[in-house]
Symmetry: none
Subunit: 229 residues, 2 copies
DNA sequence: TGTTTATGAATGAAGG
DNA sequence: CCTTCATTCATAAACA
């Protein structure tokens, strides 16, 4: 029925055409919201598959649309709610007259998150974590520090400069022709090159080098800019 | 007009000031991508140092930026690949006319070998549990791919091949009281909790489930067909 | 029809 | 490495 009229200028793109961004139909949005209200926050892959499949009956839709929708919706509900709670809180501050006490037996609490509820947002951590650790075995960069940066040259945290090495071998001006496999040996020159005949040939299996290289089509020097371009 | 102030209008923050998050310049991205295509996936500490040093010539940048960039880029490229393979795989599943009959489809998805890439997919992890009932349903949507202004018809996502029956529980019509899947078990879920009396069925922010009738386009509970039961 | 708002999409940054 | 959150960008939609 709803499809016969379509008078609600649902705009175009429902038919998947256009190429612009996905524009959900009312039905799709209703369903997504319904799911969200049911508690669905971050659907799994399977869930997304199912949702997408069902929603497809109402118009073009892809898995990523569902994924993004939930991401955005959750994030925005949260931020909106944050503001609300703030306003709510402010109201209390400005209004020393609470409307009424919540009945204890009736649980319809408006759930006020209260921005500063102690252990709130864990993301706002200020942990005194001085990361900057290196893999003991491979001298690998481990989680960088998130804050407390020098704003200058704080990159030295990486290596203890125990062994000096060519500082700029990473971007050789001349095509050395060898694609390094860092990690192979700290002593080795852990730098990539702009070579064309660089086949990982993975000497070391652990070396995460050409494992899934499905997107590298070496054939031309990419680093001309490094060299001068 | 570019004489001395060769600052492209790359939005802001390229000058390092501001304190916001790193906003890579085009040059920086080009170089990073170039390195990536050359096979660099997880640069070592020294490599990061060098890369950072080089890229700093184009704008403010820190080691952690490079570190994160590689991590994100790698992960997202992989996701993209997964999406593609899934779309490819799904094509057969959805079409009543597959080029050939499927050998087995009960469980354990046959890792489709990527239509366009030779992805060896040795990373495993991405799926088949097949046995052991540990299945905690951990397979999540791995982020959709981001096609650069390119409209593609691929959707779907990682599979996980879990033939688990959770399929039906995804959309419970009636408030069973249990959250269909893992959703708010991450601890942080949603801060609120003034009373700690949170009902699992209803998330947190939106507690108006079912009755607010803001979604009445169809004359039937939108989830009954979702249930597909 | 130009401006504002809502929201899909992308990605840097972390946490675990 | 994988998952998730926060920000931001881009643009269709809503509005006056």
């Amino acid at each position: 029925m709803e499809g016969s009229g379509d008078h609600h200028h649902q705009t175009v793109n429902n038919g998947n055409i256009g190429g612009s961004r996905w524009n959900p139909t009312k039905e799709q949005i209703n369903m997504l919201e319904g799911l969200y209200r049911q508690g669905l926050r971050t659907p799994t892959a399977e869930q997304i598959q199912q949702i997408t499949a069902r929603l497809r009956a109402f118009g073009h839709i892809e898995g990523k649309n569902v994924f993004y929708w939930f991401q955005n919706h959750k994030a925005r509900q949260r931020q909106k709610q944050k503001q609300d709670s703030f306003a709510y809180f402010n109201r209390f501050l400005h209004h020393p007259t609470p409307p009424l006490i919540f009945p204890s037996y009736h649980n319809a609490i408006p759930k006020v998150p209260l921005p500063a509820a102690g252990a709130s947002t864990k993301r706002s951590k200020l942990i005194p974590e001085s990361n900057t650790s290196i893999d003991k075995n491979h001298q690998r960069y481990n989680k960088p520090m998130h804050h407390l940066r020098n704003k200058n040259d704080n990159d030295q945290f990486i290596s203890s400069s125990s062994h000096h090495q060519e500082t700029l071998e990473l971007f050789p001006i001349h095509p050395t022709g060898i694609l390094q496999s860092r990690t192979g040996n700290e002593s080795e020159n852990n730098m990539i090159s702009t070579s064309a005949n660089n086949t990982p040939t993975s000497s070391s299996e652990d070396n995460n080098y050409g494992s899934t290289d499905h997107d590298h089509d070496h054939g031309h020097p990419f680093f001309d800019f490094f060299c001068g371009n």
